[in-house]
């Protein structure tokens, strides 16, 4: 079997117990929540007879012993059936599927921004170690690292939407504008600028600091001395020799951050009214729609598992020394 395929198979195998564990955990949380689906439906209808509630429970299988319910839940999850949202009168999977693209778009844009700018900032800081560009980047990174993400969003709205009027303050596109083709893409891109920057800022700071440390680590290795001895310019040494090797740890970091990126997007989507998964989670909290909320949590955890497998593959592709452990 080719090496990458072998690594993929091994990682998928390792992911199975984690996924099952997360599903069991979700099931337990769902049952710890006060009030089940039958109570919610009965409350919705403004009260119901105990007989009716019992009938509802029987219909949803809520009267079965817990292990039986767990088995059914796991079988459903395996077929990506995450239950029914009584608030939206839609299946949870369908609701998530309609909201997921907006979140993925925002996350990808934020990761790309944070990664690119973070690498540039980290390389610059390492090249000008303990001179003013390094100090400036370090101070900015410290500040960005400590700023609450939702507050950054509000401040950006205050500056760029309220004061300057340059960019829209919320939504994914202009409502009722009915744009098509390129105009629509430009419109969505304009709406994306502020949410993307907000979500990216924290990770930008993180990547800048990591990249700086990683660069300094590689600068100390022998091959860098060799490259310098060959008479290469400092610039070429930094970008062609050190940067390439310093990028490896950053790839791992990308995978580790997917979870906090998803958490951050709940806040960013709430601030900017972005119609994604995070906003859906926020709505589910206040509609007391536990089925939907836990479905989102389960799917987000799955996303993290998938992202980690992908990152491991990329890492193995970049570093031929990696083998199945």
């Amino acid at each position: 079997m080719p090496r990458l395929l072998r690594i993929l198979a091994w990682r998928l195998l390792q992911a199975v117990p984690i996924i099952v564990g997360i599903a069991v955990f979700n099931f337990l949380l769902l049952h710890l929540a006060p009030g089940d689906a039958a109570d919610v439906l009965a409350g919705e209808a403004g009260g119901a007879t105990p007989e009716y509630i019992a009938e509802l429970r029987a219909r949803f299988g809520l009267d079965q012993p817990l292990p039986v319910q767990l088995g059914r839940y796991l079988a459903n999850v395996a077929t990506l059936d995450l239950g029914w949202s009584f608030r939206h009168q839609k299946s949870v999977t369908e609701l998530i599927a309609t909201r997921l693209p907006a979140t993925l778009l925002l996350m990808l844009a934020a990761v790309a921004t944070a990664f690119t700018l973070g690498v540039v900032a980290g390389v610059t800081a390492a090249r000008f170690l303990r001179r003013w560009p390094d100090s400036l980047i370090s101070v900015l990174a410290l500040l960005a690292y400590a700023t609450p993400i939702f507050w950054v969003g509000l401040m950006l709205i205050l500056l760029f939407s309220v004061q300057l009027g340059w960019l829209p303050s919320g939504g994914i596109e202009t409502v009722g504008a009915d744009l098509a083709g390129l105009d629509r893409i430009v419109d969505i891109a304009r709406h994306m600028v502020l949410p993307t920057l907000t979500l990216a800022l924290f990770f930008l700071a993180l990547y800048a600091r990591l990249m700086r440390a990683s660069m300094l680590e590689v600068y100390g290795q022998d091959f860098v001395t060799t490259a310098r001895a060959k008479g290469l310019t400092e610039r070429r040494v930094a970008y062609r020799h050190v940067l390439r090797n310093a990028l490896l740890p950053m790839v791992t970091m990308l995978g580790l951050q997917i979870g906090s990126l998803l958490g951050g997007s709940v806040l960013v989507e709430t601030v900017f009214g972005w119609p994604g998964l995070g906003r859906l989670a926020f709505e589910a909290v206040f509609q007391r729609d536990h089925n939907l909320l836990l479905g989102i949590l389960l799917l987000s955890s799955l996303l993290v598992v998938i992202a980690n497998v992908v990152v491991d593959l990329v890492y193995a592709r970049l570093d031929p020394r990696i083998e199945v452990a």
């Binding site: 609450p148 993400i149 939702f150 709940v266």
Partner: protein, 277 residues
């Protein structure tokens, strides 16, 4: 110890952090004297800009509540929730990490599987779900933040214990017939103290940010005034009264910054060889 204090005191950034942190602690402690009333009380006219009224120097929000009272009382909430949540998380993480690292084998695999499980679930989303299910209160918020932040401590402590277990002084303890608990608490734990302290101080910062995020979303304890709650409410009036959402945000920023500076200062002082990184 003396060398450690000396190294820490030479780090100017860390001292700035300590100074800011002391100021925030002073705000939290003095809140009941400077602002004796309930910070939720409407005490003046709404939308008072900061600096326009000598009695309400920080201005007021859209309900005429004193922003100064909110910020001072909010300092208490942030510090208490951040501190207690971190203490609980460190306790859980140290216990799990110590048992896993000390015993190894099957126990280690089971506990690390659990840790990986908790680390896979997106932390902030997980905290939201826990608070939403168990109803927002100071207690549930503290426990939820602790539930999502213990895994890194467990991994750290496990790593330390794995290497400590094979050291001679631990082997000597085992040979003497000393009990596991005694070896773990009295002999291994003190040697793993430095990294735990550093991680803990950085975790308080994260916990404060998490609490602010939760209360911004409306998942704060409805009985206490938190910085995130004020920002969440001030968001509705961003166009007319920018200062309502802005001032508590600066308070969070400074507090978290101070904790990060102190944490990094501790790290440098405890690992002098890494100083130049």
């Amino acid at each position: 110890m003396k060398a450690f204090v000396g190294r820490f005191a030479r780090n100017r950034a860390a001292l700035v952090g300590v100074a800011i942190l002391l100021a925030v602690v002073a705000m939290a402690l003095s809140a009941p004297w400077i602002y004796p009333g309930d910070p939720w009380d409407m005490v003046t006219e709404p939308f008072l800009a900061p600096g326009t009224n000598a009695e309400f120097r920080f201005g007021s929000d859209m309900m005429g509540r004193d922003l100064g009272a909110g910020i001072f009382h909010g300092a208490r909430v942030s510090l208490v929730i951040g501190g207690v949540a971190t203490a609980v998380a460190v306790l859980v993480g140290v216990t799990i990490g110590a048992v896993a690292g000390y015993h190894g084998g099957r126990i280690d695999r089971a506990l690390m599987g659990l840790t990986e499980l908790f680390q896979t679930i997106p932390a902030f989303l997980f905290a939201i779900v826990l608070v939403a299910i168990f109803q927002p209160s100071v207690r549930t918020i503290v426990l939820s933040i602790a539930a999502v932040s213990w895994p890194p401590v467990a991994r750290l402590v496990r790593g330390e214990f794995l290497s400590l277990r094979s050291r001679e002084f631990v082997q000597a303890c085992i040979a003497m017939g000393m009990g596991d608990l005694r070896i773990i608490v009295l002999h291994c734990l003190p040697n793993a103290f430095a990294p735990i302290i550093v991680t803990g101080s950085l975790m308080v910062a994260t916990a404060i940010l998490t609490e602010a995020g939760l209360s911004f979303l409306g998942l704060g304890d409805p009985n206490v005034m938190s910085w995130g709650t004020i920002i969440g409410a001030g968001r509705e009036a961003l166009r007319t009264a920018w200062y309502v959402a802005t001032l508590p945000g600066i308070a969070i920023l400074l507090t978290v910054l101070a904790l990060n500076l102190v944490g990094e200062g501790l790290n440098d002082a405890l690992n002098p060889r890494l100083r130049n990184r």
